[in-house]
């Protein structure tokens, strides 16, 4: 294993002496930024779409909105994330003459993409809440939207929290493709260290460990959140 310890030494040297850690911190920051902002945008978009999809459809406007939402979900679920990144960065931005950084594009695409997935998760969550909850809200004179926001969606979120957690974990892992549009994430950082030392074994091993630690921490956080949200179910 003398060989391996040499590799470790080389990694440590570049990591510390040649400021490799700065790149890693930067990469970690971007990875988390893209995943967290993507999730937040995704939850907002997903909740809106899910709400539109459960509105009773007697009238024309809900029907049109519903058609648009189906199209949106189909579009984003029907293409790989990498393709969406490339299309936005290399096709849409030049066409519209807009300038955005790789990270900005990544946040946007991750938000739009997870919005499509979360809308389906949220819809199943909303459908899992007893219809009587909506009726009770409407019966006291609250509007559909208010009842949805104050009563139904909080209960739906509680029901789908584990699934939402999975979506977040999936997002974090998928950020490893954002280097396609020039965003410097964890992969880019460790790739830099590897290229500078011509030695990839240790950097990629450390990268894998960092991903695992992030996911474990998030899983634990979700468990704690779930427990506190479940307090309304407790009997004593």
């Amino acid at each position: 294993m003398g060989n391996f310890s040499q590799k470790v030494d080389k990694f440590i040297e570049i990591f510390i002496a040649q400021n490799g850690y700065v790149k890693v911190i930067e990469g970690l920051k971007n990875t988390m930024l893209i995943a967290v902002l993507g999730l937040i945008i995704g939850i907002i978009i997903g909740t809106l779409i899910a709400t539109v999809r459960v509105i009773p459809k007697y009238k024309v406007l809900p029907r049109i909105l519903n058609g648009f939402c189906s199209f949106y979900v189909g579009l984003f679920r029907g293409t790989p994330m990498v393709v969406q990144l490339l299309v936005v960065y290399y096709v849409l931005l030049p066409i519209f003459g807009m300038k955005m950084t790789g990270v900005q594009v990544a946040v946007m695409v991750f938000g739009l993409n997870s919005g499509a997935y979360i809308s389906e998760i949220m819809r199943s969550g909303i459908l899992s809440v007893d219809h009587g909850q909506m009726e009770a809200g409407r019966a006291v004179g609250l509007s559909f939207g208010t009842t949805m926001m104050k009563i139904v969606i909080p209960q739906a979120v509680k029901n789908i929290l584990p699934t939402l957690g999975n979506e977040f974990i999936a997002l974090i892992k998928e950020t490893s493709v954002v280097s396609f549009v020039g965003a410097a994430d964890l992969y880019v950082a460790f790739n830099y260290i590897g290229s500078n030392s011509y030695e990839f074994m240790v950097p990629y091993l450390v990268m894998a460990m960092i991903y695992i630690v992030i996911v474990l921490v998030i899983s634990a956080a979700i468990k704690i959140m779930e427990r506190s949200l479940r307090k309304s179910d407790r009997r004593h």
């Binding site: 007893d130 009726e135 409407r138 104050k150 309304s232």
Partner: protein, 255 residues
């Protein structure tokens, strides 16, 4: 207070209500009975447009609320509803259940300038005070901060009734309020309803509690196959029923 004129309701091709006419005056206690599937619950749910009537009119304080152009939320504030399965908001504590609608709706009124001389904070405090008073009335003030899942069925239904009361409604609609309760809890709910009746609350009640109908109602109606087949005071209704189907129904339920 409520005039129902030729109310019809279809679900697809299935005609549930085939033309209901009834007038409900202020202070009336109307009990609706009928076999299951007769349309009595649908009738009640049409009164506050929980189900949109297919045709006909429901004139509530001078406005036809069956008209789809009417802002139904505005009118529902004045019509409380109590459900068979209580439908307390599971994500809210008992006191929040009672305060929620008054606070939200009055705050909205304040923003729109429909009420003046108060603040959001005051509205909340008043709603809280009122909710505590209501909870005290039903002897559940110690349950104010627990979630509904910890209450018994009877307690849930009494909270649901005071939740409706918190809006100061002109009328309360009861959709089989005791049908989902264990027998020993029926009494406490009916007692509360009797109290409301004594205080002059207008009530429309779909129920299978014939004893309650006899004692409290001033008008009993029998619905079957989507029509009112008989209506009258409890004395006439139970003492001297005319309609054949009502006689048959009563012979089955009054044993």
């Amino acid at each position: 207070m409520i005039d129902v004129i030729n109310l019809k309701k279809k679900f697809g091709d299935n005609e549930i209500l085939r033309g209901i006419d009834i007038t409900i005056e202020k202070g009336d206690i109307v009990v609706v009975i009928g076999p299951s599937g007769s349309g009595k619950s649908t009738f009640l749910r049409c009164l506050n447009c929980m189900e949109d009537p297919t045709s006909g009119q429901i004139i509530f304080k001078g406005t036809d609320i069956a008209d789809m152009k009417v802002d139904i939320n505005e009118h529902r504030r004045h019509m409380g509803m109590v459900f068979q399965h209580f439908n307390l908001f599971n994500n809210k504590t008992v006191i929040e259940n009672i305060m929620l609608a008054p606070v939200i709706l009055q705050t909205k009124d304040l923003k729109k300038g429909r009420i003046k001389g108060t603040t959001k904070k005051q509205i909340k405090e008043e709603a809280r005070e009122n909710a505590l008073k209501l909870l005290k009335r039903i002897g559940l003030e110690d349950k104010a901060d627990v979630y509904p899942s910890t209450l018994s069925g009877g307690q849930k239904q009494r909270v649901a009734i005071v939740r409706a009361l918190a809006m100061n409604p002109d009328v309360i609609l009861f959709d089989e309020p005791t049908s989902a309760l264990d027998p020993e809890m029926v009494g406490e709910v009916l007692d509360l309803m009797k109290e409301l009746a004594k205080e002059g609350m207008t009530m429309v009640i779909v129920t299978h509690e014939m004893g309650f109908a006899k004692e409290v109602a001033n008008k009993v109606i029998f619905i079957d196959e989507g029509k009112i087949l008989e209506s009258g005071t409890p004395k006439e209704f139970f003492g001297n029923p005319q309609n054949e189907r009502l006689k048959e129904f009563l012979s089955k339920v009054l044993v």
